[in-house]
Amino acid sequence: MNKHILDLTVVENIKLHTNYVLLKMTHELTLPPMMPGQFAEIKIDGSSTTFLRRPISINYVDKEKNEVWFLIQLVGDGTHQLSKVNKGDKVNIILPLGKGFTLPQSNIHKKCLIIGGGVGIAPLLYLGEQLLVNGNQPVFLLGARSKQDLLQLDNFQQLGLVYTTTEDGSCGEKGYVTQHSILSHERFDIIYSCGPKPMMVSVAKFAKANHIECEVSLENKMACGIGACLCCVENTNEGHLCVCKEGPVFNIKQLLWQI
């Protein structure tokens, strides 16, 4: 898939709550094809401490409206500046980057469990939609600290069953995603996951113990985003691989995690 540098136009900047914004962007030409799990490198203007682009997951692609969505957690000055863009502003973005999730072949209907934690749910909305379009049944298990941190629940609910956990018990089952009862009640063919590393390690342990195929999306710190600088490497059974190029999505069998 060819990578493009585009000046995208902000269509909408929606404040989800204090720490998150959803940016919907468009382009005068048809957006290039993008796969769920791929990401973009976004150039940040107006932040003196932000030198590099920011790698941000592709949250959703609305082909009818020619829109790409980015769900952004406000972490530092760079993401704060980015969250201030207004409708009509142009943002310089390189996309699509990296290797996304592996979708089951379209004639094989798989029961897919999608596990997300915190802002890690970002790439999972588009994944869920693409799984559904391909005839699979996505089931979502989303976890967060508390109810207000569970993002885009309405969007997920349009695609399939959604189970939730919160650490304070304010929504769904209390605890972590890997403690949810659905995991002992139902059998899944594939698990896809994105979230904080400790969560993904727990998910990987569960998948491995139960012999379920599992892919996880990593977020190692990166510079170039295209496999040139070799900064964002993950240690794998093939040696150091670039998360930006050979990932961000990896099958847990490739990783050297202690699971």
């Binding site: 060819n2 990578k3 493009h4 540098i5 150039k43 003196s48 401490t49 932000t50 030198f51 590099l52 682009r53 390189i94 190692n220 710190k221 990166m222 510079a223 170039c224 985003g225 295209i226 496999g227 040139a228 600088c229 070799l230 900064c231 964002c232 490497v233 993950e234 240690n235 040696g239 150091h240």
Partner: protein
């Protein structure tokens, strides 16, 4: 259109803009963004005799107007380069130059000898300045004796254009540049990264697995520019300037300071098309000031 051709002691380039090793992969990574033919020369990732896994993650930390890296020369070794990468890049219509690094004089020599056989590689850049490896690398580049020994040894086996990349982590960079020149270098390139450090105060830990790393980006430009100016006065061989070049104006500053060519490194990460923009910007500058050739402004700084 002004004449942008430069001659680095026999290495002929259509323009003075090159890419810095380790920031442009093997060129192919940038094919979607730029017409590689429009770049004067591409210096590919540092290559060593044997495969190197590089340093553990994390290897990168962003700093104000710059970044630190501690990649540690991750590469698959010179044989892999010759058998698997060279066939893919040999027909890219620009100067494809290999950055050669080593942990001993013998390993530098063997690697340079192997690259010497590759018809479509017109030059090597001898890296005696990598701050991120324990043995070799910068160790050779911080003493006159070390630099002289490794450059002389490689000169004996390498018959084409030999560029020596210098470290800024020295007391007097002009001494090392003179040593490289006296030992047979055709050109020197400078600066490699400056040794730096970053700390995560919240967790009381270094941000790099190696604690220290090499700093690059806009923040290092004034230091690089000063060193290029000093070295250009100290040696007769052509100087290639790099360090924090973010745009055409930066590139012209280096050329005025005495650089015959320049390299763009970290800026590629922010704008993958910056190389061709700098070529155009240099041409615009020459036309605006009524210069016919880039050679008219090399070292043209008036003091």
């Amino acid at each position: 259109m002004a004449n942008l051709n430069v001659n680095i002691n026999g290495l002929l380039m259509n323009n003075p803009v090159m890419t810095a090793s380790g920031t442009f992969g093997y060129g192919k990574e940038y094919e979607d963004f730029v017409d590689l033919e429009k770049i004067g020369g591409i210096i590919v990732k540092g290559t060593t005799l044997h495969k190197r896994e590089g340093n553990p993650y994390p290897r990168m930390a962003e700093t104000p107007s710059g970044m630190l890296n501690a990649v540690g020369l991750q590469n698959k070794g010179v044989n892999y380069f010759i058998n698997h990468i060279y066939p893919q890049i040999k027909d890219i219509p620009t100067n494809m130059i290999v950055n050669v690094s080593g942990s001993s004089i013998e390993s530098y020599v063997k690697t340079a000898e192997a690259i010497n056989e590759l018809e479509k590689i017109p030059a090597i850049e001898l890296n005696i300045s990598c701050p991120n490896v324990k043995k070799g690398g910068m160790a050779f580049g911080v003493s006159i004796q070390g630099a002289s020994e490794v450059v002389s040894a490689v000169r004996k086996v390498y018959k084409k254009c030999l560029i020596v990349k210098l470290s800024p982590n020295v007391t007097d960079i002009t001494e090392i540049a003179r040593a490289a020149e006296a030992s047979g270098a055709d050109s020197v390139s400078l600066i490699n990264t400056i040794l730096g450090m970053a700390i995560d105060a919240e967790h009381r830990r270094p941000l790099l697995s190696t604690v220290t790393g090499g700093m690059s980006g806009a923040a290092v430009k004034p230091i690089a520019l000063r060193m290029v100016w000093q070295v250009a006065k100290a040696v007769k061989i052509p100087v290639i300037g790099l360090g924090g070049i973010m745009n055409a104006r930066d590139a012209i500053e280096f050329i005025l300071a005495g650089a015959s060519a320049i390299q763009i490194g970290t800026a590629n990460f922010i704008d993958p098309t910056i190389t061709v923009k700098v070529v155009e910007g240099i041409n615009d500058y020459l036309e605006r000031h009524h210069y016919k050739s880039i050679n008219d402004i090399i070292g043209a700084l008036e003091i």
